[in-house]
């Protein structure tokens, strides 16, 4: 029963934000000692575990080619492609972005987009611009803008999480095969696991996509209510409006520059 304290070390370590490597090291040693392994046996287990789970870290072999593509403008090219979607409504635009994020992550392009690479410079400004069109060109009230931005970030994260596991060389898939094959002396292929991630990925697109499409109606209703309330327009959010306009302008010129 006392071996369970090893799990407690992991939970407490991660929950109190200690360095994960140290948490793993301490939890391994503590669990081993509680399980009545001698110090030499613990070292041997660490060694044998490392040797038989090397397959988890082999995705590092793809870094040179991904690095080469990124220094030649891979992320910029992805943004150019997304920029062509600028005529859609907020919900439809984010649904398409969700799909693109899932598909690219599923073929191993997880770093092509992300909060810093695409959401801030591109996705969030474009989603806001679309919402402003819904608002007849007027700046968005604070609450609505927060909601649109939150949805932009969420579409990216959901797309990544429920796309990347369909790629066979991702950390989580290799962790499953590495752990199971070395611990239970069985044989699982990464490809089998990646295929089993597809049903959940489809569910994720249907569930989150449907919510994003409903977002359009929600935004319309909320914006109509705000317009009816204030009558003269949102004076309070004028200062933020300039900020949004700038961000949008930047991305527009960038896209234009890339096309020419």
């Amino acid at each position: 029963m006392i071996v369970l304290l090893g799990v407690l070390v992991v939970i407490l370590g991660f929950a109190t934000r200690r360095n994960p490597l140290l948490v793993v090291g301490v939890a391994g040693i503590v669990t081993g000692l509680l399980g009545k392994l001698s110090p030499v046996e613990i070292l041997r287990t660490f060694g044998e575990g490392f040797a038989s789970s090397r397959s988890v870290t082999i995705f590092a072999i793809t870094l040179p080619v991904i690095g080469l593509l990124e220094r030649n403008g891979l992320q910029q090219q992805a943004r150019t492609l997304i920029g062509k979607l600028s005529k859609l409504t907020t919900g439809r635009f984010l649904t398409l972005y969700l799909l693109l994020r899932q598909l690219t992550a599923a073929v191993g392009l997880q770093t092509i987009a992300g909060p810093a690479q695409s959401v801030r410079p591109m996705i969030s400004p474009m989603a806001e611009a679309a919402a402003e069109r819904t608002n007849r060109g007027r700046p968005l009230p604070e609450r609505v803008r927060e909601r649109v931005r939150s949805h932009a970030a969420a579409a990216d994260t959901v797309g990544l999480f429920f796309g990347e596991d369909c790629f066979l060389a991702i950390g989580s898939i290799l962790l499953i095969t590495g752990f199971v094959n070395s611990t239970y002396h069985t044989h699982l292929e990464p490809l089998q696991l990646a295929l089993w991630a597809i049903p959940s990925a489809v569910c994720a697109f249907l569930v989150h996509g449907a919510r994003l499409l409903r977002l359009d109606r929600g935004l319309e209703r909320e914006l109509a209510a705000v317009r009816a309330e204030s009558g003269t327009g949102a004076g309070a959010s004028r200062s933020d409006a300039g900020d949004t306009g700038d961000a949008d302008g930047v991305s527009d010129t960038e896209v234009g520059g890339q096309r020419s």
Binding site: F46, I58, S200
Partner: protein, 322 residues
Amino acid sequence: MIRSEWFFWLVGAVFLVMAAQMLFDRSNPKRFGSAAFWGLIGACFFYSTWVVQKTAPAEPLGVAVLVMICIGGFHFTGRGTPRTTGPEERTALAARFGNKLFVPALTIPLVAVVCAAGVAKWRIGGTPVLEKGSETILGLGIGAIVALGVGMWVLRERRPSVPVHAGRGLLESMGWALLLPQLLAVLGTIFQTAGLGDQVRRIVEHVLPDGQRFPAVVLYCVGMALLTVVMGNAFAAFPVLTAAIGWPVLVEQMHGDAAAVLAVGMLAGFCGTLCTPMAANFNLVPATLLELKDRYGPIKVQIPTAAALLGCNIAIVYFFAF
């Protein structure tokens, strides 16, 4: 026959070459720590071959792993300023190469799948071309090498040092986190060796008598999600709950399909990641980047999706894994 060990040596060699570059990179304030960390990993990839064959003792490797944990855990690794292209240059390059940039990236999964599905059946004089049981991993390695060749051809890059430098930049920016999944797999092995799985199985059998399948599936999936919410990391929750419920109860006792149970179990953990501020880089960093007043804005938006998907994952395991 192409052996998986050769591929591990190639990965080890890549780490060693990058470690050597780090050693002489004066722009990295922690160049000695970084070089030691990645050099040690590279060397361990070679030494492990003999540990797996049981011709060398595993204890020195265990010591090396603990040294790596200390170097990474006490922040002795750092990153240099990579010699790379700027944003304007990249925009110009993207305009020049266009969608050709995607070709090398798509080569990796394509070659990997071809190897796993097609080349795996090839034989020369009765021996398979690819080592049996490692076809996907070898496919990934071959895919990465082919993609590098394709990439250098498409981008007209003749210097092999350029992709190595670019890859090292990515390696340094990921830092010690790159080793975390493997160490969690090691931790899972230690849990099992120390008898943790048996302990928890006894408790689970006590709580869930006569092998009821639905409560066991719910316990595994919801457990993955909740433990991930607490720890902020589905990878860390995976060895714990798989050693406890996933493997002994769902796979061994109830004869569930291992690939389905474990793959979907991990995704149930991802549902937890969507809901927790503990996963700061996924949930709080975007809020900061987007200058949101409500730091939990993205989490609030993600919770309904996460709840629905947790239900989907439970249903997938329950209906299709048995």
